[in-house]
């Protein structure tokens, strides 16, 4: 229990996340320096500072295990900085393992569980510190990074800070950023002038436009050229060529960021949601008032309504953007997982990350972490073969896993692909048999394989179970994806590789939906889930055993009539409208009476478990005072494919 600062745990966790993200990034950069005497000094310094900060704040919240671990790691880094130790393969392993353990300790403090035993890491580092090193004998150039000689002209930029400038947002940090974007800062020091005031002197190597430089005078920055024969100053902050991500390095770039509690953004989003509903109400009222308003006035009213619409959409998109974080946040830890697991299983695996800057909702990121982790672990344990097997199959001994993300419109696509052995359909079928799962006739396609892999009770090999992810199976992966209104797809070819594709809406709270009616009741269907809308005569439906099928692109799809699902009378019309939902092999047609339009809807989750029905994801208010149920097409499609009779019976029971 934190006695002194009980209210700061959230701040602590948030800051830990930042430090750990930094550590992961830097460790990856450091991995290339194993065995070299000349380690990138800025990388070491920054890494050291992250551990130092972790130690400091962990001590403040009295998380001794984390404090101690960070302290050990810091010790090793200090030895590296001083040249009394050399970065060995064991050393980087200890740093990686220590970091993972630190992360676990913080995770346990946050969510409960058993603390891992840090003594192992401590002992390893103690051994490393004792090991004699070549570096301790001869370390001529290690003490400081050497500034690259820049051919650019040098300038002395003097900044005179003042309260007036601070009010205008011009501070020493923003000035430093401005200079850094113009060139390379070679030096930055404060100076006391003759009259006792304080100024900052920067030495900048840059090709400066003299007019631009002159314009800086208004912001308190005086620029003068340093003649070539003037002595070059030392370089306390050499730019780092190996630095992968400038914006997150050092303090210079951080001053523009504000940390916001996610709950506050949720609150804002709810407010915008209310606004969307009010706007819909207004539209409803206006449509009824149309006849009573003179035509001239009516046009003005409509123009205003359209402007509000547009502004509301801009506001909504703006708030959504604020919630977006780069997917790299979850990607960056994957190489560690892969590395660790590869070592454990004796395989050779390379990991490629692509599209790390793709942005998705913070809420989604947190919930996608475990599923992506699971799929990546699966790729190592089940997908990639041993080096010998690969060579025998004519492949390179090293397997590759590509983890990529991309956005297309309102959809984010996360793709986990390996060049391993692929999913063997015969093996899956044999295991499905053993597990007593029902099998469709004929050779299974990818969608069928996926649904078998994701069926609860489909067990995998024991030894890889442990490795494949903290007790969550494919069924949990699928459930997590579907809970976020996403879809999971499998592409695989035996001997060539496996690819899992997760598609998610970028954000959840407000979405475009198609509005449909069934026997006078109204439902909303999220538009992202609908592949196609078709209209067919009722008598074109085929009866196959107890199920109705519809002809579709030369084949047939099972049809689910919403009227039957909810115990409502069938339409008396002779034509049906159908939403085609679900992916290729697992698509179904959801039949409604009419499609009445397309609307922006505010999704409200149904929390009352008495009202919770599978296939319904929430409720919304269309603005006319009616609460409308939102269908969850992915879940409906899956259940329809699996157990059509049971689903319908269950749904009838729930609504009866």
């Amino acid at each position: 229990v934190t006695q002194n600062f009980p209210d700061f745990l959230d701040d602590y966790f948030a800051e830990c996340e930042e430090h750990l993200a930094g550590v992961r990034r830097l460790l990856l950069a450091l991995e290339g320096s194993v065995g070299q005497a000349d380690i990138n000094r800025p990388v070491l310094d920054e890494l050291f500072r992250h551990f130092h900060s972790l130690k400091g704040i962990s001590g403040m919240v009295e998380l001794r295990q984390a404090e101690d671990l960070a302290h050990r790691l810091e010790d090793y880094l200090r030895a590296l900085r001083q040249g009394s130790a050399i970065l060995s393969a064991d050393g980087i392993d200890a740093l990686l393992d220590g970091t993972m353990m630190l992360e676990q300790v913080i995770g346990v403090r946050r969510s409960g569980g058993t603390f891992p035993d840090g003594a192992v890491v401590a002992a390893r580092i103690a051994t490393l510190l004792k090991a004699p090193t070549a570096a301790s004998i001869d370390t001529p150039n290690r003490s400081h990074g050497v500034a690259r000689q820049s051919a650019a002209t040098r300038w002395r930029c003097t900044f005179v800070p003042s309260a007036e400038l601070v009010v205008r947002g011009i501070r020493v940090d923003t000035v430093r950023e401005r200079l850094a974007s113009a060139g390379q800062i070679l030096d930055a020091v404060p100076r006391v002038t003759a009259n006792g005031s304080i100024v900052f002197d920067f030495v900048l190597a840059a090709e400066l436009d003299i007019d631009v430089a002159a314009s800086w005078a208004a912001d308190g920055i005086q620029v003068e050229r340093i003649e070539a024969d003037a002595p070059a100053p030392a370089a306390p902050f050499p730019a780092d060529p190996a630095e992968p991500d400038r914006t997150s390095s050092g303090a210079a770039a951080t001053s523009h960021f504000v940390r916001v509690d996610l709950a506050r953004l949720d609150e804002l989003m709810r407010n915008v949601g209310d606004l969307v509903i009010s706007r819909a109400r207004l539209a409803d009222t206006l449509s009824r008032a149309e006849g009573h308003i003179p035509a001239g006035e009516w046009r003005a009213v409509q123009e205003n309504a359209i402007a509000i619409d547009r502004q509301l959409r801009t506001l909504r998109e703006g708030i959504m953007r604020v919630r977006l974080v780069p997917v790299g946040e979850i990607f960056r830890r994957m190489p560690f997982v892969v590395r660790d697991l590869a070592r454990e299983t004796g395989k050779r695996v390379r990991m490629d990350l692509q599209g790390q800057s793709t942005e998705i909702d913070k809420f989604l990121i947190e919930r996608m972490m475990d599923p992506v982790l699971h799929l990546v672990r699966n790729a190592v344990s089940h997908g990639i073969e041993t080096a010998e097997e690969r060579v025998a199959a004519g492949k390179r001994p090293e397997g590759t896993i590509v983890l990529s993300a991309a956005t297309a419109g309102d959809i984010v696509c996360i793709d986990i692909a390996d060049d391993g052995r692929g999913v063997d359909p015969d093996e899956v079928i044999a295991r499905a048999h053993a597990a007593g799962l029902a099998l469709p006739p004929g050779a299974p396609d990818a969608a069928t394989l996926l649904s078998l892999l994701c069926a609860p009770g489909f067990s995998t090999r024991d030894e890889t179970d442990r490795a494949s992810g903290r007790g969550i199976g494919m069924s949990v992966v699928l459930a997590a994806v579907e809970e976020l209104s996403g879809t999971l797809r499998l592409e695989t070819e035996k001997g060539t590789g496996t690819r899992f594709v997760i598609e998610l809406p970028v954000t959840l709270a407000i979405t475009d939906a198609l509005i449909a009616t069934v026997a006078g009741e109204t439902f909303a269907v999220p538009q992202g889930a609908v592949r196609e809308v078709v209209e067919i005569p009722v008598d074109a439906l085929l009866q196959v055993e107890r199920n109705e099928m519809m002809p579709y692109r030369g084949g047939a799809l099972p049809v689910m009539r919403l009227s039957r699902m909810f115990g409502l009378p069938d339409s008396s019309r002779d034509r049906l409208h159908l939403f085609v939902v679900g992916v290729a092999g697992a698509a179904v047609g959801i039949a409604v009476d009419r499609i009445v339009g397309q609307r922006e809807i505010v999704v409200r989750a149904i929390v009352d478990s008495l009202v919770k029905v599978d296939g319904i994801s929430g409720a919304t208010d269309l603005g006319d005072g009616h609460v409308v149920l939102i269908l969850d097409p992915a879940k409906l499609a899956r259940q329809m494919r699996e157990r059509p009779d049971r689903l319908i019976a269950a749904a009838k029971g729930a609504t009866a």
Partner: protein, 125 residues
């Protein structure tokens, strides 16, 4: 209102320091995340008390102290160095560079508060 300057690269620690000194109601609190920002605050207005971390990016706390003691306007500003245990710089280094008080993190809130009260003297009443 006179100002208390909190210098630490950790936002969590800055918040904790601020909370510990909450009882000092007649002061404005300002924060700086690195040495240059700290010196900027000193440049733009008087500071009644500074709480200073040592191990910070770009400019070490000891260098901040040395600079302050060279600056006529802030030579007399009391500075509490608040540094993480096992830091590279010892109490002696910090005091020699001009620290008025030296405390280590983890710190106890009321200890920091009473140190601050003492250094502020009558001004904190």
């Amino acid at each position: 209102m006179p100002r208390i300057l909190i210098v630490d690269d950790s936002p969590t620690i800055r918040k904790m320091v601020r909370a510990s000194l909450r009882a000092l109601e007649s002061f404005d609190f300002v924060e700086a995340a690195n040495g240059l920002e700290a010196i900027e605050q000193v440049a733009i207005g008087p500071v009644a008390l500074m709480i200073l971390d040592l191990n910070m990016p770009d400019m070490h706390g000891v260098d901040v102290l040395k600079f302050l003691r060279r600056h006529p306007g802030s030579r007399g500003v009391p500075v509490v160095v608040l540094t993480t245990r096992g830091d590279d710089s010892s109490r002696e280094t910090a005091i020699a560079a001009g620290a008025t008080e030296y405390m280590t993190k983890p710190f106890v809130p009321h200890a920091l508060l009473s140190a601050a009260r003492e250094l502020l003297g009558g001004a904190s009443e």
